[in-house]
């Protein structure tokens, strides 16, 4: 019986293990291996070069610029999307009129991919015919050419990203908020706490596991952003929207520098792991699990 059960188990696991081995584990190991190689673009011959690819990256000002762009993009997307989505979720939870209509409106971008979200914003940003600069004109402000201005392009991409992301965050914040027992808030109110105090000392601590989960996912999503950059700016102007992932794509599939791109992939993997670990560390101190 036991041997039969064991054979059955391996049989059931086989499709999964085959796919994961072939398309996740093997290529992950291969990426590590390739990051120490110099691969000729056309003949695909490769030579072991040790840490040379990593040295090239760390000595390249362009690569450090992509690191800077990535960090600013993280800052411009994660914090605004957390603040806005938490605020909106709290308001939606406060039982407003037209609650269902509001909820549908805010959640709608969940059904829209990052590239489609970019298409929605691209004409809004158009410097002459777009609505944003027209609205600014009416207010007496001369708007920049958003997507072509090195000072504004990253902000413009970030705004479109936040617009798309907050729906996803609101879903989780709402789920977290509705799981907080109403009696706790009412007890605090009866004790004379005002709305802000109820939020700060009752809602927020009880919501901290959700907040933690949403911020981990937001950071990972932001680090992996690609579609909206490809549509809106293709990494320009002057590399000001070239993030680590976008640079990896260009090195691998436009410039065919396989070895170099592989070491970028390894670095990105390390960064995502590090960001997640830092957040888990912070969560240990701050997150209260009921």
């Amino acid at each position: 019986m036991n041997r039969k059960s064991s054979a059955l188990a391996w049989g059931l696991l086989f499709p999964t293990l085959a796919v994961l081995a072939l398309f996740v584990l093997y290529p992950a190991a291969q990426s590590f291996w390739l990051s120490f190689q110099d691969v000729e673009p056309f003949s695909k011959r490769s030579f072991f070069v040790g840490f040379e690819n990593y040295q090239v990256l760390f000595n390249s000002p362009d690569y450090w610029q992509t690191v800077r762009v990535t960090l600013f993009f993280l800052l411009y997307t994660v914090i605004p999307s957390l603040v806005i989505s938490l605020t909106v979720a709290v308001l939606l939870d406060a039982n407003p009129f037209f609650q269902n209509m509001f909820r549908t409106l805010f959640l709608l971008p969940v059904a829209i991919s990052s590239s489609m979200a970019a298409m929605l914003w691209i004409f809004i940003y158009n410097p002459t015919a777009g609505f944003l600069n027209y609205a600014l004109d009416v207010l007496g402000i001369h708007g920049p050419n958003w997507l072509a201005d090195p000072d504004w392009a990253l902000v413009a991409v970030a705004v479109a990203t936040v617009w798309k992301e907050i729906g996803f965050n609101i879903i989780f914040f709402l789920a977290g908020l509705t799981s907080i027992p109403l009696e706790l808030k009412e007890a605090a109110e009866l004790d004379g706490a005002n709305s802000w105090q109820v939020f700060r000392y009752v809602t927020l601590p009880l919501l901290s596991p959700t907040l933690f989960f949403v911020s981990v996912v937001s950071v990972i999503n932001s680090l992996q952003s690609f579609g909206q950059i490809h549509i809106l700016t293709t990494g320009g102007p002057m590399g000001e929207t070239t993030t680590l992932v976008y640079n990896l794509y260009r090195d691998a599939f436009v410039k065919f520098r396989t070895g170099l791109a592989s070491s970028e992939a390894v670095i990105l993997f390390g960064l995502i792991l590090l960001a997640t670990m830092v957040q888990f560390r912070m969560a240990k101190k701050r997150v209260h699990y009921g």
Binding site: T16, S31, M116, I231
Partner: protein
């Protein structure tokens, strides 16, 4: 005291409603603007000062968009790819999660650790070798290239594992005494009992597959194989001289299936998302 409490609740409702108005307008504006531009004719789009509303609701941009690119083919490709990925992930994950949660065998813990470990590996790390693997098989620009690499999911297994674990042992033993085989038990009891979780993961998988960008960008080479996400970018860059009205009409057509599907299935969708998020 009670009436003061009620007053305060009513005041809160009003404040919440009023404060939500502005962000709601901002949130809906890009979609509204998309429709407005898609109904404008060429000169109307670029006139200054721009008018928000079109002169009339007209569909010629939609006709032109449909005539200049295989938009329906893009949608069909997306639907085929996303459906197959969802089906394959459900199938492989149900089998594997069942083996890991309800059967006993040597090395079980190791296999579980390995599968959970694959969740930590981001797609960017595997994309270059996977591209070369599929190129060497001559699979580039085919449906299998878009589907097969994603036909198993560490997350799906981890997620379903937790639901299969909650099925009471007594039920399983009773079924075996009745002469039910293990596989029969899986499909007759375990799967129906976990249907909400399976649906939740299915929704999650479908959305992820539909929204993929980087992988289909590098593995599709002809217009006929492009998914909606890739098609729209190509459509824009290949029609630089085309009126923005036509480009927005194309976007509107490619966006509408998922938006309408979302509005129709909002409740299940939200439940699916939160379930997969909270358990994962």
């Amino acid at each position: 005291m009670v009436s003061r409490f009620k007053d305060r609740k009513l005041k809160q409702r009003w404040i919440a409603t009023l404060v939500l108005l502005l962000p709601a307008l901002i949130q809906v504006f890009p979609l509204f603007y998309l429709l407005c531009v898609s109904w404008k004719e060429g000169a109307e789009v670029i006139q200054y000062p721009p008018k928000l509303f079109p002169k009339a609701i007209q569909w010629f941009n939609y006709h032109e968009a449909l005539a200049s690119a295989p938009l329906l083919r893009f949608l069909l490709n997306s639907a085929i790819v996303a459906s197959f990925i969802t089906f394959c992930q459900l199938f492989t994950s149900v089998l594997a999660a069942y083996a890991l949660s309800r059967l006993e065998f040597k090395g079980q813990k190791w296999v579980m650790a390995l599968i959970v470990g694959t969740m930590m590996i981001p797609g960017e790390v595997t994309i270059i070798p996977n591209y070369f693997t599929l190129a060497s098989w001559n699979w580039l620009n085919t449906y299998p290239a878009l589907i097969v690499p994603f036909s198993a999911s560490g997350f799906g297994i981890f997620f379903l594992y937790q639901f299969f674990k909650t099925i009471p042992k007594e039920l399983e033993e009773a079924a075996y005494l009745e002469g039910c085989s293990r596989l029969r038990f899986l499909f007759k009891f375990a799967v129906p009992l976990s249907l909400p979780a399976i649906t939740a993961f299915g929704i999650y998988a479908f959305v992820g597959a539909w929204n993929q960008y980087l992988w289909p960008l590098i593995t599709t080479q002809t217009t006929q194989m492009q998914t909606a996400q890739i098609g729209i970018g190509m459509f824009r860059s290949q029609n630089e001289s085309m009126s923005w009205g036509v480009i927005m009409a194309a976007t509107a057509m490619l966006i509408s299936p998922t938006v309408l599907l979302f509005i129709a299935t909002q409740r299940q969708f939200v439940k699916g998302m939160t379930m997969s998020g909270i358990k994962g």
